[in-house]
């Protein structure tokens, strides 16, 4: 459980690392000068996650867009990198308007520079063209 505590000496947060399935319990302390001290991580990526989570939390968005002429009506997509967490809902609204046409290859750019983040939305699977499909 993420727990925030604000004290006279600064700021303290406990959180579960989401970088890998180990799920380390991280602790971040920010002293009065704004200096961060991070404990509980077992790898460099966990340390970076804790820092980002306090300063600028980001997430990779995975969702779907509509696809035509394929065996299924939806194509799974993801952002090529993490985007600011507060943009997730807005990104979903943008992607709800997107429709592509098969064939599509894994990694194809579906939407460039999502919400000016510099991050692209890419296909996460192949979809063959099926003539006659909706």
């Amino acid at each position: 459980m993420a727990i925030d505590t604000q004290t006279d000496q600064g700021f303290y947060r406990r959180m579960t690392c989401i970088v890998c399935p180990t799920g380390c319990l991280l602790e971040v302390r920010k002293d009065a000068d704004g200096k961060l001290s991070i404990t509980g991580f077992q790898c460099r990526r966990g340390e970076m996650y804790a820092e980002n989570e306090v300063l600028n939390p980001k997430r990779v968005l995975t969702t779907t867009v509509r696809i035509r002429n394929a065996s299924l009506p939806l194509l799974p997509v993801r952002t090529s990198d993490a985007i600011p967490k507060e943009l997730l809902a807005e990104a979903m609204r943008v992607l709800a308007q997107v429709e592509v046409t098969a064939p599509v290859k894994t990694g194809d750019a579906i939407l460039a520079n999502l919400l000016d983040t510099g991050v692209d939305v890419i296909a996460s699977r192949d979809m063959k063209r099926i003539d006659g499909a909706a």
Partner: protein
């Protein structure tokens, strides 16, 4: 059906386990491998798991389910000696490794294999298995079925959702429904701790302020034609609802994420003995079942939390199946199998299961195991010999521990010999 077809290694199921097993069998020298898949495409459940987090161990990358599948599918399709039959339902398997299947073009097909790899995966536990009181309205889905609707078919099962069970699929679907505009009212878990991974509690529930009620369960489903709400009650240590704790939550959809069951009906037609603890076949370190030449891997063997370990296990099964097929070709089948050299592995204190269940004396192999209860500062032992120490163990996280030469030395010194039992236990560190 015209005639019997022949293959060296038949792989039943084209999901992550089947794909890795087929490729490994080819690498190990099997000339002709056949994959039988009931869906219209390869990849299995990975195709509907569009979230990321797959492949961290194996590829050092965070892939989505389909991306993980596409690390294998093109290799399978590029190999002219792997024959893939899609839309093909296997109906039976005999102990002599004869497979009967139906195929839309070929009709009833018989396939004789020198070795078989069982890779059928698992299925979800349903409402029927839970005996929840109440009406029988529309709007009750298993989490995986809802996942397929939302991620592949393009249907939203509902707008206000309660999720019973905190398994990973349920947690992932809580986030997915929220992103797609539905309101997830609560996740309800009967145990005092979550069933899914801690990272999924953080990124699927906490990120979206979805409440998680522990030591609670759904005690009534309301609604005539469509779900209108559920009653949630707290439970005591014996899972009995506590009177006076009921709360009514209005909702139009109830998702069940209450466990997975290895799908072994086919294994049983071949007389493959199952382990009641895993729900999957009893195997040795080669992943060979007690029926010679029939191997098993992936979720049909035991339910995994990480696909990376499924691939790893499938490679063992595929490779050993190829070896078995090659031996059978050389007309010395069974010569490599010597059950007399094996010891039985049994789960002891705070262990739900350990796999493999049989092990050849001296074999340096990875043991997979799952604990019964969460525990801090744990020493894992094998008949008194220390295998590893862990800061924390949880039922949601499968443990993988290497059994090394030094452990065998201690076991032999303690008088352990083939034919005997070894007990694996998770005990508080001294």
């Amino acid at each position: 059906m015209r005639s019997i077809r022949y293959t060296d290694v038949a792989v039943i199921g084209g999901g992550p386990a089947g794909l890795a097993a087929a490729l490994a069998a080819r690498r190990a020298g099997a000339e002709h491998v056949t994959i039988l898949e009931r869906n219209h495409e390869l990849g299995g459940i990975l195709q509907q798991c569009i979230h990321n987090g797959f492949g961290l161990h194996r590829f050092k990358e965070e892939l989505t389910g389909p991306e993980y599948a596409y690390r294998f599918i093109p290799q399978v399709e590029a190999d002219p000696n792997i024959h893939v039959y899609l839309n093909t339902m296997v109906l039976s398997l005999t102990p002599t490794k004869e497979i009967t299947a139906i195929h839309p073009d070929h009709g009833l097909v018989k396939l004789k294999a020198k070795a078989v790899v069982l890779a059928m995966g698992c299925r979800e536990r349903t409402r029927g298995a839970l005996t929840i009181p109440g009406t029988r309205p529309a709007g009750i889905y298993t989490a995986g079925t809802a996942q397929r609707f939302v991620n592949m078919e393009g249907y939203m099962p509902g707008k206000r959702v309660v999720i019973l069970g905190s398994g990973d699929i349920g947690l992932i679907m809580a986030r997915r429904f929220t992103l797609e505009g539905a309101k997830v009212e609560a996740v309800v878990e009967i145990m005092p701790y979550p069933a899914g991974l801690a990272r999924n509690i953080a990124q699927c529930l906490e990120d979206f302020n979805i409440p998680l009620y522990l030591s609670s369960t759904v005690t009534m489903i309301h609604g005539k034609d469509r779900v209108e709400g559920v009653t949630v009650s707290q439970v005591d240590d014996n899972w009995c609802p506590i009177a006076g704790t009921e709360r009514y939550i209005p909702c139009d959809t109830l998702l069940l994420s209450v466990g997975l069951i290895p799908e072994n009906e086919l294994s049983q037609t071949a007389g493959v003995p199952l382990d009641p603890r895993t729900g999957g076949p009893v195997v040795d370190e080669k992943r060979e079942t007690l029926v010679s030449g029939i191997f098993a891997c992936g979720n049909v063997l035991h339910v995994h939390d990480l696909v990376d370990y499924v691939s790893e296990e499938a490679e063992i099964a595929g490779e050993e199946a190829a070896r078995h097929a090659l031996r059978e070709t050389a007309d010395e089948a069974g010569s490599g199998r010597d059950g007399g050299q094996q010891l039985a592995l049994k789960p002891g204190s705070n262990l739900r299961y350990v796999l493999p269940q049989r092990i050849t004396a001296g074999a340096e192999v990875d043991l997979y195991m799952r604990v019964s209860h969460p525990m801090d500062a744990v020493t894992l032992t094998l008949s008194g010999v220390t295998l590893a120490k862990k800061r924390q163990v949880r039922p949601s996280e499968m443990l993988k521990i290497r059994l090394k030469a030094q452990h065998w030395e201690s076991l032999f010194q303690a008088g352990k010999a083939p034919g005997q039992e070894l007990l694996v236990a998770a005990e508080p560190s001294a």
